[in-house]
Structure formats: structure tokens, C-alpha cells
């Protein structure tokens, strides 16, 4: 069957010929088509299988709300499951596959589930797979997961780029239909910064699909004029292909821009998608309204479609969904479909109107009033409908309209509930304040003139409040379509299977069952029946479900209310959230000023926090980590080694009260530290537990250079800020991180002094000129200012040399050269760890947040002559108990085997404990 493309009209480029494939078969379509419209044009109505019963399904909607026509789009790493055929823009080379069928879409074995449908009611899984309990995880759940479910994700890496961006505006307009265009135009002309976004591939909203008349021209031509004017305004940003998916506190909106989803492959310089955070001073929701289905037997058979969708396919895509249509409606908008189809030359058999007193213009098409469709013939395409009075009418497509639901989602994302309106038979958006308001159909205004006026007024009010002076908009004259509706949720005379929620195969019988079993709260009923779950979140049938539940529970629709609306309005790919922060950009990489030097020498790097640190320096013939580490330790102990210690936190502490400040921060004394001297300091937390340690030097009476452990650098800085700002604001002290200013290297071992002597200017290094714990500014390499500290973590005769970071690599190379004659060896943090353990120095793994100074053997550092952070709490009973764990050194009696981290040591028979 082919030939569903109408002879003329539509926003498609008939001169273009795009080739695409669906389930391996090649088809062609035009620029401007969606995958759905192109498939229908090719006579393909069967596009998917349903979730539970594997029923054949076709297109139901024409946009974002589509629950049935979900496909796997693209191949390889670009494959994307559950993509709505109704929003996929057709491009040349597009490849799509149907989902949830085996062996093929046309013949799907899973359809036997339908035969057993009487047992597959809501709550079936919970009731059936209860026993034996142990079967759930291993047998039942995997079995159910295989049977149900839709498309599958790819296991390959996504080859495309994703980006993030921030946007700012005075007015964000969500939706570019008549209300949105008027809002953007009003605000844009007033000079406000406007962002107008729309999920569609082009701006215009409903004006792209409807036959309207505005300002004496077609709605489409009017929209084109407005869009052209908006495009000429520098203060207006137009963002088609962009979905506002969430509304957040502070009038921040999340939006997804599909930059390159409409091409085969993005340019290598451009992202596929861009994730926006938009900060809007004011926002207008002009998202329109979504048509509701009617629940009758076979309302899911391919060929049954929302009336507005059928109209959209005909008007915008020049595609007829069939050769002979029946329109089934409970309101006036069904007539628009009938008239538009007739005007396009599509035969409309009859309009079935559930209202006895309907009076809309049928343009000569027969109307059966006060009648309903009970059942559609089952199968892969509609062949006839049977009315409640058993009249049979042959047709191949059915348009249905059960009224309209304003798209209130974004206005409810912050928790407010929509409000039921009896006159409109719809939930209207809640009033959440002036920052974010609805206009047009999203606000329940179904007449075009109302929509245009509301859009203009909402924008004028919003930007007026921001100080702009919008001119009273001259509202264009337009033709209004009457809108009258009566509720019709469910045709109870139906015999065949009817669906309230298409994507989850929820039938109208499931909801009364939920009510009978005690789940009449809408939140519980949603979970029990799965109505309103999955990727479409019940955009179409939710209100039907609420109405049916209300009736079963003996309550009003207003009393039942809606479930909670949450982001995301439509699904967003994880890749968009990750943006560019994948692979080694997942977290920023931080390199030390000696990185290049270490890399040249073949260092193996390890991530410590964000830093890349050199762990060891293997020689070409060395394998594993142990051999190089042992060699590095030995070389340092016997000759001289050099190690990059630049990652230590470094904080400049200055001011008249700097000494007093440090004296209160450290548990040991710093007030009396001499200028030119370094001291090991230990900091406690307020609760008496050890916080951090490091060497701090006094460079001048009012100038200290503090070091912290690598891991705690930022925490110590925060702690200092708190102590200064909250505890002792009276102290005149200033501090700033200088971690990145200095390259710092340890030079250790018996030959450390002669090595350094070769690069030091003017000074002879000796125990007299440079005694243990000396800390002085010196000159090296013919005039470079450096700082030299005689301190040791390795236990050897050692120095730490600080030079400004840009010199780091060169100075390290100079030291290597100077130490060559002594056999200088670079060592990494593994060797450093070995040496500090051998000497009993504590480090990060002992400063674990559970140890006291005494536990670490540092109890005597706690001053008794002054107050300091942690002093009081450190004296608590449990903190000074005799039986606390303690850090001890262990030396093996033999050298056999080795101890691994976290090993337990057990006393053997006759062993005695000997504490050092």
C-alpha cells in the first residue's frame, strides 16, 4: 500500500529526495518530514509493538507526546533507543529499527501475551511472583525484564561531543506558537533580552499545522513575518530544536538544544546536543495544549490517531493517514480535522460526536450526534469501526479527540499542583507568582484571539515589572474557531482491549481494580497500574486515567488530582548531562610544576585527588613497582634522591597577629618560633582528633609559610577562614594559598648537601650556616630567588627547595646534573612512603579522622601552656583511655613474605608485646 503523500501543500521540500531505512528496508522522503510522516507517506503504519502485550502500534501523536512509535535511531555508538518517530527530523541516510518485537515487527511471538491478558492485570507481577521468595532475583525478575521493555542501549562509546552553556534573559518564552510569538514580539520590541525557544525543528508551533487566519493572512505567513522581525532584533535569541525540560528554583530553566540531531553526523567541530541552564528574570509558558485520546476498544490499532495529529500530518507534512477517515470527537476540534482533510481531498466518511447537541461546522460531512465508537477492528491497520449501537462503518483511519489538556508541566516542577477547571474539563496551571506565568492554550485559553492577547499581555506585564516600557500591542485580527467540549473519558460499551496509557499497556479496567484494592490515591494508582510512567509520563491519557479512577473511587476529578510533575518534560540523554566532562576531563587534571621533568625520567603517575603525582621512576629493565621503589629508597638512603613534593598545600600567613593565629591553630607552640626557622606543627579538630600536620616556617616576624598535607590543603584553608572570621575576628592576620606559586622538591640523603651546594649562590651549606630546621630565602643558579628548608620526611639529611613554579622543571634538571657525580636518583611518593614508615613519620593514612595525637605517638606535642583548637575535647575520657588503638612500627624478624595493607596481626603463642 503506498501513495499517502498528498499532491500538494505542506512544509516539505518536494524537490529534495532523502533516502532512509526502517527495519532494513529503504524508503524515501522529503526535507521537512519527520520519520513518522515519511513512513506514513510510504504506507508504513505499523511502527512498533507495545510494552506488555506486544500489540501492533502505529503513530498516535505528531509531536513530543508520542507513546507508540518509538524506534532505535542510528547505529553503532550513535544508537539511541526509544526515540519518538514523530520528532525525528528526516535526513538522508537515516537508519531506524523498530523495538520490542521478535522475530519481526510484522510477526511478533510476544503477541501471545495478549491471549493471557486476563491475568496480566495491574499488580500481576506483585501477586504472581511472590513465591518462592528466593526466585525473585534470580529467575522471575530477569525473565520479566527480558519479556517486557523497549529498545536497548548501545554498548559502544558515543563518538559525538556534547556541550553545556549558560543563558541569561529578561524574558524566557517557552513555545513559539501564537502566544509565544506575541510574547516574544512584545518584549523584544520593548528592548528586553528575550530567549524564545521551541522543541520543534522550526518556530511557529501550532501555526505550522493549523489552518488559521491572522492579520488577513494565513497563520503560517503571519508567523513567518513575526519570526523574521524577531530575528532582526539583536536583543532576541531564537532557539528552535530546544526543549525546556525543567523549571528550577530562582527561575532557572534547564533546556536541551538538539544542535545536530537532524544530520547524519555532526561536524567534528560541533556538538550533537547542548545542555542549557537559562537564568530568566521572567518566563512565559506558551507550551500549548495536548489533545487527549478517547478510551475505546482498539484505540491503539495502527491508523487510530489523535485528531490534531492527523491534521498536522495533512497540513504540515502533506501526508494522509488513510484513504477513508472516521472522526470521533467529544468537542469541536474534531471538526477541524474533518474539514482540513476534506479540503485536502481526503475522504471523511463520517463524524461521530458524542454530544447530542453538537453544532460545529462539518462542511457537509455527515455527523452522527450522541453516538460513540465502541470498537475498532483489531489488526495491524484499521478496517472498520463499530459504534456503541453496533453500526459498522468501513474506514482505514480514525481520528479521535477527547478534549485538550494544557501543557502545565513546567509550572508544576517546583511542587505546585495544577487546578481542575470544570468548564474547560482540564487541569490549568497553578499561579506560582509573577516570575513565571502561562499564556495561551497552556493557560487553558482555546481561542486564537485569546491566545494572541494573553501572549502579548503576559510579556508586557513581565517586562514592565523589570522597568521596560512595552507599547500596548496592536493585536492582529484573527479568525476564531469555536471551542465547546463535553467530557468523554471511556466508552464503556467497548468489547476489545482499550488503552488509557499506551506506552505501558494500561487498560481502563486496571484503574477501578487499583481503587478496589486500596490504591485510590493517584500517586499509588500510578505505581500500581503504571499509568503515567515511562518515557512519555502519561502526556496523553493521564487525565482520562484520573477521571476513570475518580469515578471508581466515588470522588471528583479535582479531589483525585494529578501526580507530581517533575523534570524532565521529555527524556534527556545522559551524554547531555555529562557534556564535555568525560574521559580524562571527568575531573580536572592538576599537574605539578615538575611534571615535565618527572615525565622525561619515565615517572609512573598516580592520581591523588586531582593531582598527578610521580609514584616511581622505573628503569627500562624494571617491571612492576617494587623493584624501582626499593632501588629509589636505597639510593636515597645511601647517596642522594630528589622527589617532587609540590602538591603539599602552601599557605602564606601574614600580619601582626600571624604568630598568635598559628599558635591557636596548632596544638604545639608557634609564638616563639624564631625567624629563619621551620617547625613541625600538628593541628587538631575542635573535637580533639588530629586534623592535619605540616612544617611551617617563619620568614619574617609577621610572615609565615605554612605547609599542609596534599589531601587537606583546601580543608585547612577553610578551617582557617572559619577560625578567623567566626572565632577570632579581632586578629590582624591575612592568609592566601600559594600552593601553585612554588615548585617544591625534597633533596635527601648523605649527598644532599654537596649536591645542593653546587647550585647555591654565595652561601656555604654547613650545620652552622644552615642547621637542622633552618628556613631561609637564598639565591641559586646565579641569581634566582629560592627558599631552602632543612627538613626531612625521609629521615635522611634532607632539604626542601622551593622555587617559583615556572622554573621548576629547569631547577630539577639542574639538580639532577649537580647530583650526577653522586648518583642522584629521582624517587616517587611510594619510596617516600617507605622511608617515612621506616622512620615512623605519620601521613594521610594515619591522620584518618579517628586518631588522637597520643594514638600517633605525638601526645607530647600538645602544649599545656596555651589554648588551641581541640584542647578541651582532646581531654575527654575516651580520648585519653589507656586501651586506645595506637600506631606502632613493626619490623619482621625474617624477610620472608610481606605484609599487605589491612592485614591483621595476631599474637602467636608465647608472644610478648613490646611497645617502642
Amino acid at each position: 500500500m503506498a501513495g499517502f503523500r498528498l499532491g500538494k501543500g505542506g512544509l516539505i521540500d518536494r524537490s529534495s529526495n532523502l533516502t532512509f531505512s526502517f527495519d532494513g528496508k529503504a524508503y524515501s522522503g522529503h526535507q521537512g518530514d519527520t520519520l513518522a510522516s515519511a513512513l506514513i507517506a510510504n504506507g508504513v503504519h505499523l511502527m512498533g509493538r507495545s510494552f506488555k502485550y506486544h500489540r501492533p502500534r502505529g503513530v498516535l501523536a505528531a509531536g513530543a507526546a508520542e507513546p507508540n512509535a518509538l524506534v532505535e535511531l542510528r547505529e553503532g555508538g550513535r544508537r539511541e533507543a526509544n526515540t519518538r518517530a514523530t520528532v525525528i527530523e528526516l535526513y538522508d541516510g537515516l537508519v531506524a529499527k523498530s523495538q520490542n518485537r521478535w522475530p519481526s515487527l510484522n510477526f511478533d511471538i510476544g503477541a501471545v501475551n495478549s491471549l493471557a491478558s486476563s491475568i496480566f492485570v495491574a499488580g500481576f507481577y506483585y501477586k504472581t511472583f511472590m513465591w518462592p521468595k528466593s526466585f525473585w532475583e534470580k529467575i522471575y525478575e530477569p525473565m520479566i525484564r527480558r519479556a517486557a521493555g523497549l529498545g536497548s542501549a548501545t554498548h559502544e562509546a558515543d563518538p559525538d561531543k556534547y556541550e553545556k552553556s549558560y543563558g541569561h534573559c529578561d524574558l524566557l518564552v517557552i513555545g513559539s506558537g501564537p502566544a509565544g510569538l506575541m510574547a516574544a514580539l512584545t518584549a523584544g520590541r520593548a528592548g528586553a533580552r528575550v530567549i524564545l525557544l521551541d522543541e520543534g525543528s522550526r518556530l511557529g508551533g501550532s501555526l505550522l499545522s493549523e489552518n488559521e487566519e491572522i492579520a488577513g493572512k494565513s497563520g503560517y505567513d503571519w508567523a513567518e513575518g513575526v519570526i523574521a522581525e524577531l530575528g532582526s532584533l539583536a536583543n532576541v535569541s531564537l532557539m528552535p530544536r530546544t526543549t525546556a525540560f525543567g523549571a528550577y528554583d530562582g527561575n532557572v530553566f534547564g533546556a536541551l538544544e538538539r544542535v545536530n540531531d537532524h544530520v547524519l553526523e555532526p561536524s567534528p567541530y560541533e556538538p550533537r546536543q547542548r545542555y542549557w541552564k537559562i537564568m530568566a528574570k521572567r518566563a512565559v509558558l506558551a507550551a500549548g495544549a495536548e489533545e487527549r485520546p478517547i478510551i475505546f476498544g482498539g484505540n491503539d490499532v495502527p491508523g487510530v490517531m489523535l485528531a490534531s495529529a492527523m491534521r498536522t500530518f495533512a497540513n504540515r507534512y502533506a501526508v494522509a493517514s488513510g484513504k477513508a477517515a472516521v472522526v470521533f470527537t467529544s468537542n469541536d476540534s474534531g471538526y477541524r480535522t474533518a474539514r482540513d482533510l476534506k479540503a485536502k481531498g481526503v475522504h471523511v466518511e463520517v463524524i461521530i460526536d458524542s454530544r447530542k447537541d453538537a453544532a460545529a461546522d462539518a462542511a457537509g460531512i455527515p455527523v452522527l450526534k450522541g453516538r460513540t465508537v465502541a470498537d475498532v477492528s483489531p489488526g495491524k491497520i484499521v478496517t472498520s469501526v463499530e459504534l456503541s449501537d453496533h453500526t459498522n462503518i468501513a474506514c482505514d483511519t480514525v481520528a479521535m479527540s477527547g478534549g485538550w489538556s494544557p501543557v502545565v508541566n513546567l509550572l508544576c516542577h517546583k511542587g505546585a499542583k495544577p487546578v481542575w477547571n470544570d468548564r474547560l474539563q482540564a487541569f490549568l496551571p497553578p499561579n506560582t507568582g509573577a516570575d513565571f506565568i502561562a499564556a495561551g492554550a497552556a493557560n487553558g485559553s482555546m481561542l486564537l484571539s485569546e491566545t494572541l492577547r494573553e501572549g502579548a499581555e503576559a510579556a508586557a506585564k513581565a517586562v514592565g515589572e523589570l522597568g521596560f516600557k512595552p507599547k500596548a500591542a496592536a493585536l492582529p485580527k484573527c479568525r476564531d474557531e469555536a471551542f465547546n467540549a463535553q467530557p468523554l473519558w471511556w466508552v464503556k460499551e467497548s468489547h476489545g482491549k482499550a488503552f488509557v496509557d499506551y506506552q505501558n499497556d494500561v487498560t481502563p479496567k486496571d484503574l477501578p481494580l487499583a481503587a478496589r484494592e486500596g490504591y485510590s490515591s493517584i500517586e499509588l494508582a500510578k505505581r500500581y497500574t503504571t499509568a503515567g510512567m515511562a518515557t512519555d509520563q502519561g502526556k496523553l491519557g493521564n487525565v482520562n486515567a484520573i477521571a476513570i479512577l475518580a469515578e471508581a473511587a466515588g470522588k471528583s476529578i479535582a479531589e483525585i488530582g494529578t501526580t507530581t510533575f517533575r523534570p524532565f518534560y521529555t527524556p534527556v540523554a545522559f551524554a547531555a548531562f555529562a557534556g564535555p566532562f568525560t574521559g580524562h576531563h571527568f575531573m580536572p587534571v592538576r599537574k605539578t610544576p615538575l611534571h615535565d621533568w618527572a615525565e622525561e625520567l619515565g615517572a609512573v603517575f598516580v592520581e591523588t585527588g586531582l593531582w598527578m603525582r610521580s609514584s616511581w621512576f622505573p628503569l627500562p629493565d624494571e617491571e612492576g613497582w617494587l623493584d624501582p621503589v626499593i632501588r629509589e629508597v636505597k639510593a636515597t638512603r645511601e647517596r642522594v634522591g630528589i622527589c617532587d613534593v609540590s602538591t603539599l598545600g602552601k599557605i602564606d600567613v601574614q600580619g601582626p597577629d600571624a604568630a598568635e593565629f598559628l599558635n591557636r591553630l596548632y596544638c604545639n607552640g608557634f609564638a616563639q618560633l624564631e625567624v629563619g626557622k621551620a617547625r613541625y606543627g600538628l593541628m587538631l579538630r575542635e573535637d580533639g582528633i588530629v586534623f592535619d600536620d605540616g612544617t611551617t616556617s617563619r620568614l619574617a616576624p609577621d610572615h609565615f609559610f605554612m605547609t599542609t598535607t596534599t589531601a587537606n590543603a583546601a580543608r585547612v584553608m577553610t578551617h582557617m577562614e572559619f577560625c578567623h572570621q567566626a572565632l577570632w575576628p579581632e586578629l590582624d592576620v591575612q592568609y592566601v594559598s600559594v600552593t601553585e606559586q612554588w615548585a617544591q622538591m625534597a633533596v635527601a640523603g648523605p649527598k644532599a648537601r654537596p649536591t645542593l651546594q653546587k647550585i647555591v649562590d654565595d652561601v656555604t651549606l654547613s650545620d652552622e650556616t644552615f642547621p637542622y630546621l633552618a628556613a631561609k630565602e637564598i639565591s641559586i643558579l646565579g641569581g634566582m630567588t629560592a627558599r631552602l628548608f632543612r627538613i626531612s620526611f625521609s629521615g635522611e639529611h634532607a632539604y626542601e627547595l622551593s622555587v617559583p613554579a615556572d622554573y621548576g622543571n629547569l631547577v630539577a634538571r639542574a639538580i639532577m646534573q649537580a647530583g650526577e657525580e653522586f648518583g642522584i636518583t629521582p624517587y616517587g611518593i611510594e619510596a617516600l612512603s617507605v622511608m617515612r614508615v621506616e622512620k615512623g613519620h605519620v601521613a594521610g593514612s594515619e591522620l584518618s579522622g579517628t586518631t588522637t595525637a597520643a594514638d600517633l605517638g605525638l601526645g607530647r606535642m600538645m602544649s599545656t601552656k596555651k589554648d588551641y583548637i581541640g584542647r578541651m575535647m582532646a581531654s575527654r575520657e575516651g580520648m585519653v583511655a589507656k586501651d586506645r588503638d595506637a600506631v606502632v612500627g613493626i619490623r619482621p624478624l625474617d624477610n620472608l613474605g610481606c605484609l599487605f595493607a589491612d592485614a591483621w596481626l595476631l599474637a602467636g603463642p608465647g608472644a610478648t608485646e613490646k611497645r617502642a
Binding site: H585, T592, Q734, V738
Partner: protein, 200 residues
């Protein structure tokens, strides 16, 4: 004091190579350059000395201290607000340590000064797409009606702390910690690809 034979090497020396990259249609949307070598000093007012510090700066450098979120001065020396009573003094064309010693001497008793010349890397971003590029990283609104030359902000881009200064109508400078500079450069240039960029 003899001049050291060792020259400063920018952390981006091998990374920020000159040339035209990314989309190659039309003129580049942005130009990127590394300002190096620079002199940077953190100045923090001592207790109750804010007013005196301001006067001393004005007297010494003929340039007022900037207000909150602002910058003052020119290439020879500029001052940038970076926190309550905290500023960066930035200068080009000075010998290593010269600015630090000069500022420290002139502000003796009024402020604590720390040399950061090697600790931060300054990148200049200019061109018609500079704002669009920066919007991919910073939540700060850089629209001319809000921001502009003489404004500065402490912000975060690509998970890294950034000090951002607008230096001319389409020109911005970012400073980041030296250790993050290479990673930041990779991110920045990838984001600039769609506009086409020129590294000067």
C-alpha cells in the same frame, strides 16, 4: 645581584601552539593568547586599613583601587577585586619578583602581599564569539548591559576556579591556577572549535 641564566617557562609553552584551529569558515570567532610572563601579587588589606590602603595605592600607582567586582588600571599595572579587601595587582614587563617587592615596600603595614606570578596563568580571549565561548563555562552574565570593561568576577569554569576580567568590549582575561592550566586550555579550545579560533 647577577641575572639568573634560567628563564621562565610558561606551563602552556608546548600546549598553546600558534595557528588557526576549528571551523575554518570566515574569520576566527575568537583569538586566544597566553599572557606570559606576568607579575601577579595578591594584596590583602590589614585590619582596619582598607581606606589607607586605597589612598596608598592611588598615590603610588595613580590608579584607584577597584570596587567590588571591578578592575582598574592598564597593562603597566592593574588592580582587580578578588574578595572582601582582597585584590590582585597584575603587571607585565617586570623582572621576576620586582612587582612583589615594589608593592610590599609601598604598602608596608597596610596590606599583606604574596607573590603569585607563577601560580596563576592568564589567558586572553578576544573576538565576536568571546562571550558565547565563555557562556559555555561561566554562569556569570557577560551581556554588555550587565558586565563590561572594568568588571571582574571570581567564578568557576569547567570545574576550575577562574578569575575573569573584561578588558575591552570583546576582550576578556581569565586566570586559573597553574596546575589546571593545561587541562583548562584543552577544554577551552575544544569549546572554541565551532567558532574557529586563532592562537596568537
Amino acid at each position: 645581584m647577577p641575572k639568573s641564566v634560567i628563564q621562565r617557562v610558561s606551563v602552556l609553552a608546548d600546549v598553546a601552539v600558534q595557528g588557526r584551529f576549528g571551523a575554518d569558515k570566515g574569520p576566527p570567532g575568537v583569538t586566544l593568547s597566553v599572557r606570559h610572563p606576568m607579575s601577579i601579587v595578591t594584596i590583602i588589606a590589614r585590619k582596619d586599613q582598607s581606606a589607607a590602603l586605597s589612598k596608598a595605592i592611588e598615590a603610588a600607582y595613580k590608579c584607584p583601587l577597584p570596587g567590588i567586582g571591578e578592575s582598574t588600571g592598564k597593562n603597566s599595572i592593574s588592580f582587580h577585586w578578588c574578595g572582601p579587601d582582597q585584590y590582585y595587582a597584575i603587571a607585565q614587563g617586570k623582572a621576576d619578583g620586582e612587582l612583589y617587592r615594589d608593592v610590599k615596600a609601598k604598602l608596608n603595614g597596610l596590606a599583606s602581599c604574596s607573590d603569585q606570578s607563577h601560580g596563576r596563568v592568564i589567558l586572553r580571549i578576544a573576538g565576536p564569539k568571546a562571550r558565547a565561548l565563555l557562556a559555555k563555562g561561566t554562569p556569570v552574565d557577560l551581556h554588555p548591559s550587565v558586565f563590561g570593561p572594568g568588571k571582574s568576577a571570581a567564578t568557576q569554569m569547567a570545574h576550575v576556579g577562574v578569575h575573569l576580567v573584561q578588558t575591552a568590549s570583546d576582550e576578556f582575561e581569565l586566570s586559573v591556577f597553574r596546575g589546571f592550566a593545561e587541562n583548562f586550555w584543552e577544554w577551552l579550545t575544544e569549546q572554541a572549535e565551532e567558532f574557529g579560533y586563532q592562537v596568537l
